[in-house]
């Protein structure tokens, strides 16, 4: 019998309905409670679990106690095996309030017993218990915690429940998360695994309307191909084949002597792999004439390389679930670097599946330099396969 690990971050999404742009940290939780926030993640987790339970009745659910999963599993009619313990645990908010000698906020005593450390511990316990898949309800903070704990060792699927959803590890809706989890656990051919970005932004900066997103890592995530293409379209290139095609096309177009800056991502990694080079998955590398010209480069290192090169091209791909090609997780490729290479030397690569998953939304550039963003806006000729480009809208 297949084992499903379940993690609910009850705090996730608390800040969103009350306009707090995130739910990390004690002050935000307190403010959220004061503004009458309700718990979003448990409700969404239950929707996903109900769908899962309906589609797949032979699954062994393993989770943590109470609000970290046990309650939602039972509510969805599943009998979970419960690991860990929250006995004697008191409200995190209440404890913090008491510690600082402040007045308890109404509702805080039955609210938020858990911390990010619990999420990480739960993820590690579930991995140790040999679960086949972890379904979690949360946002980018939760994804980051799980990624930190188990990396890409266990496949995960996110139920989008947080305020920040920049990572690419979530299904589109709770029901879709339940569907894809069921398909994956049943070994359905339509459900495949792929590496997806885990990103998080600095919430404090975000509240000041500055976005500073970082790429924290990759997790393996099942996806239902039926969302974007037929599971029975014979001969249709798989993800791997598509990446290989793109890599071949990029390499075929490389000019002798020119420098090629490769941003982070699995699509750009395919280019490096095809050249027989190791890619810094989370960082920016550069190649020239098929040889490595620099790995994991900082902005100033990039600038020096680009300025010294007779010609330089910047190869980027879509990072995260929002469609960003610049300004999220690849900030090393700064406005100065882009200007030095020449804005028309930007090469965007992405599989057609990735473009279609944006559902018509534009690709986004957010370099921090509005006039450059403006210049980069319009239409990009995105390399999608061997000999193929897709005209795709780019917005700032």
């Amino acid at each position: 019998m297949k084992k499903l690990g379940l993690i609910v971050n009850p705090v996730a999404g608390v800040g969103g309905r009350v306009g707090l742009k995130g739910s990390d940290g004690f002050d935000v939780l307190r403010a959220a409670l004061e503004r009458g926030a309700t718990r979003e993640a448990p409700r969404r987790a239950r929707l996903a679990l109900e769908r899962l339970a309906r589609r797949c009745d032979d699954v062994d659910v393993v989770t943590w106690p109470g609000e970290m999963g046990e309650d939602e599993a039972r509510a969805a009619g599943l009998e979970p095996r419960v690991l860990g313990s929250l006995d004697g645990r008191r409200s995190y908010v209440l404890c913090e309030l008491e510690r600082s000698g402040e007045r308890p906020v109404i509702g805080c005593d039955d609210f938020v017993l858990t911390t990010p450390a619990d999420t990480e511990r739960a993820a590690r316990d579930l991995a140790a218990a040999g679960v086949d898949l972890i379904l979690f309800a949360g946002g980018d903070g939760t994804a980051r915690n799980i990624c930190h704990a188990v990396g890409d060792r266990v496949p995960v699927i996110g139920v989008p429940a947080g305020v920040k959803i920049h990572s690419a590890v979530y299904a589109t809706t709770p029901a879709a998360a339940g569907d894809v989890a069921a398909l994956y656990l049943q070994g359905h051919a339509g459900a495949r695994l792929r590496e997806s970005e885990v990103m998080d932004i600095d919430e404090e900066a975000f509240r000041e309307n500055r976005v500073s997103a970082h790429l924290y890592g990759y997790m393996t995530v099942p996806y239902a191909r039926g969302l974007t293409q037929s599971a029975k379209a014979g001969g249709v290139a798989g993800e791997e084949r598509a990446l290989n095609d793109i890599a071949t096309e990029v390499i075929a177009g490389m000019q002798p002597g020119a420098l090629y800056v490769l941003g982070p991502g699995t699509t750009t990694r395919a280019v490096m792999e095809r050249l027989g080079l190791a890619k810094t998955l989370l960082g920016v590398d550069a190649v020239r004439d098929g040889e490595l010209a620099g790995a994991d480069l900082t902005e100033s290192e990039l600038l020096a390389l680009v300025e010294a090169a007779p010609a330089a091209y910047i190869v980027v791909t879509v990072i995260g679930g929002q469609g960003h090609v610049l300004g999220r997780g690849n900030q090393q490729i700064s406005p100065a670097v882009i200007r030095a290479a020449g804005p028309d030397h930007l090469i965007v690569i992405a599989t057609q599946t990735k473009l279609l998953s944006l559902e018509g939304r534009p690709l986004l550039v957010d370099t921090g330099d509005p006039s450059l963003d403006e210049q980069l806006s319009g239409y990009a000729r995105v390399i999608t396969a061997l000999g193929e480009r897709t005209m795709y809208r780019v917005g700032a």
Binding site: R54, A175, A231, R389, Y392
Partner: protein, 542 residues
């Protein structure tokens, strides 16, 4: 509640049987159960030495006069060992294939409204008499053109009709299918620019995501790079993206109108203008021509070339029931590059003109699939110009009637161009149904066949519309057919909302169950197209 497999089976049977009652009570759904034969492969049947026909040996006198038949086989052509064929009596062979045929929802048996983008219309049986009669069937491809005048007249006349329908100047009916005609266009455009010395400069062909995939695939075969334009919010190819895609590198465009969404692009001439301003060419793939016959001519929108499928639009049977015939039409400018031979007329005589130095050469042997040409000729002659327009009118009317019924079905939506009518077909989405019930388009497709109608065409790859399906109720179908088809979709939707698992487990009334191991279809290492391969790969190992 968990039911045992037996209980599940009888529950399913009850539901299927319940439909018969619906029909008796005045409903339109029918009780249907496909025959299920546990029929082994023919290669696994037979008895050594058994024969279907016993051919008498030649009489001694004959052999004495002309020698043994085997001596006539050229050296090196004779088999060293007898072929491994099944050894069976004639009636056993007949029985075997009839059983397979019974397990198939074949042509003329069910409703083919389901097959959007395919224009599955009724192919008049009279046409089969024409092509199977001795006048046609006994022709030999190497006959001199003087003895082929009747056939050449039909080919020539059909070409003239298609020129009139499209507004073009020249034609070839040689391609053996729609995609083949589309490939012919890529090759013609290539030759055109080669002759002008611009081939090194012009390397990019433009298409749209809702055009048929052959509009992207065939230019690649012809050596071009392909640029795909996505739809704007109205479902039309994004005009600004199109403008941005066109440059001095552009060869031309290969696009469909109406696209597979059924939305006719009223600004199509603007796209053509952008291309011509850049010195590029414009081709329109008219696989979806059924809704515009007699109403919109490719030439009037400025196109330099277009094609028709004589199978589908012009009544010749589709796909493997064909064979297919692609008609390619172009303007005078591109005519020198057409495949040879071109059928020409000089006074009362018809000729096969091979003397065309700029031609791209042959794209198919002899005259191509002329059976499709004869059927199209008969069909056009039967209908006349007004009849062709009526075909377009009825198919658009049928489509919009069906649309009204389908849009009332819970979970069905019609993305793009809200408030604009579609022409010959619609690409619907079951995204809402999937979200509400977990039943997506593949599951619904597997269930609808339980009602004795053909499973629907979902979409070409890739799926831009989520959970898509694309019916095309062309002029063949009656109101009763349309009502039945919509009722099936409605019934399946209701089942999805009340008992999604029942739909997910379907089909329940078909000879085979759901294919669970679809990954094998994408893995060439698991394919076996011949018995020998199958034995080597699977049987000998077992």
């Amino acid at each position: 509640m968990t039911l045992s497999p037996d209980q599940l089976k009888s529950a399913a049977a009850e539901k299927v049987a319940g439909l018969a009652k619906l029909r008796r009570d005045g409903g339109v759904l029918r009780d249907y159960r496909a025959p299920r034969w546990d029929e082994p492969f023919i290669m696994e049947q037979g008895t050594p030495g058994e024969r279907g026909i016993l051919v008498p040996l030649a009489e001694d006198g004959v052999t004495a006069e002309v020698g043994a038949a085997a001596d006539y086989i050229p050296e090196g052509m004779a088999r060293a060992a007898a072929p491994e064929l099944p050894e069976m009596a004639q009636y056993q062979v007949m029985r075997h294939y009839l059983r397979y045929a019974q397990m198939t929802l074949g042509m003329d048996l069910g409703s083919d409204i389901s097959e959007g983008t395919c224009t599955m219309k009724y192919s008049p049986k009279m046409h089969e008499e024409l092509i199977r009669g001795h006048k046609a069937a006994d022709l030999h491809p190497w006959q001199d053109e003087d003895t082929l005048q009747g056939l050449l007249e039909i080919v020539y006349a059909t070409g003239q009709y298609l020129k009139a329908i499209s507004g073009m100047d020249a034609f070839t009916l040689q391609p053996g299918g729609g995609s083949h005609a589309v490939y012919t266009n890529a090759a013609v455009m290539r030759r055109y620019f080669e002759a002008r010395g611009e081939l090194d400069q012009r390397t990019e062909m433009i298409t749209t995501i809702f055009s048929h995939p052959c509009d992207a695939a065939t230019p690649m075969v012809a050596g071009f790079k392909v640029i795909t334009v996505m739809p704007d919010e109205n479902g039309y190819p994004d005009l600004e993206a199109f403008r941005a895609a066109v440059s001095e590198k552009t060869v031309g465009c290969m696009i469909t109108n109406p696209e597979d969404t059924g939305i006719y692009n009223p600004q199509i001439d603007k796209y053509v203008e952008i291309l011509h301003d850049a010195g590029a060419l414009a081709f329109t793939d008219q696989a979806n021509a059924n809704g515009i016959l007699g109403y919109a001519r490719a030439r009037d929108a400025g196109f330099d070339a277009c094609h028709f499928n004589l199978h589908k639009t012009f009544s010749s049977p589709h796909g493997c029931e064909g064979p297919a015939t692609g008609a390619y039409m172009c303007t005078e400018k591109l005519a020198p590059y057409l495949p040879v031979p071109v059928v020409t007329k000089d006074g009362d005589r018809y000729h096969l003109d091979y003397d065309r130095p700029d031609s791209i050469g042959r794209v198919r042997g002899f005259l191509g699939n002329w059976m499709g040409v004869i059927r199209a000729y008969a069909w056009i002659r039967n209908l006349g110009p007004e009849g062709l327009k009526e075909v377009a009118e009825i198919s658009v009317l049928n489509n919009n009637y069906l649309d009204n019924l389908l849009m009332a079905v819970k979970g069905v939506s019609r993305p793009y161009a809200e408030g604009h009518r579609r022409l010959d077909q619609v690409r619907y989405s079951l995204e809402q149904l999937k979200e509400d019930t977990g039943v997506g388009t593949e599951a619904l497709r597997d269930r609808m066949v339980d009602f004795g109608i053909q499973s629907y065409w979902m979409s070409h790859h890739p799926w831009v519309v989520p959970e898509p399906f694309t019916p095309e109720p062309c002029e063949t179908y009656s109101k009763a057919d349309l009502d039945e088809w919509a009722a099936v979709i409605k019934k399946c939707s209701e089942e999805a909302y009340t008992d999604p698992q029942f739909v997910l487990d379907s089909p329940h009334a078909q000879p085979i169950d759901q294919m669970r191991r679809t990954e094998a279809m994408e893995d060439p290492d698991q394919w076996a197209f011949t018995w020998r391969k199958y034995k080597r790969r699977f049987k000998d190992k077992a």
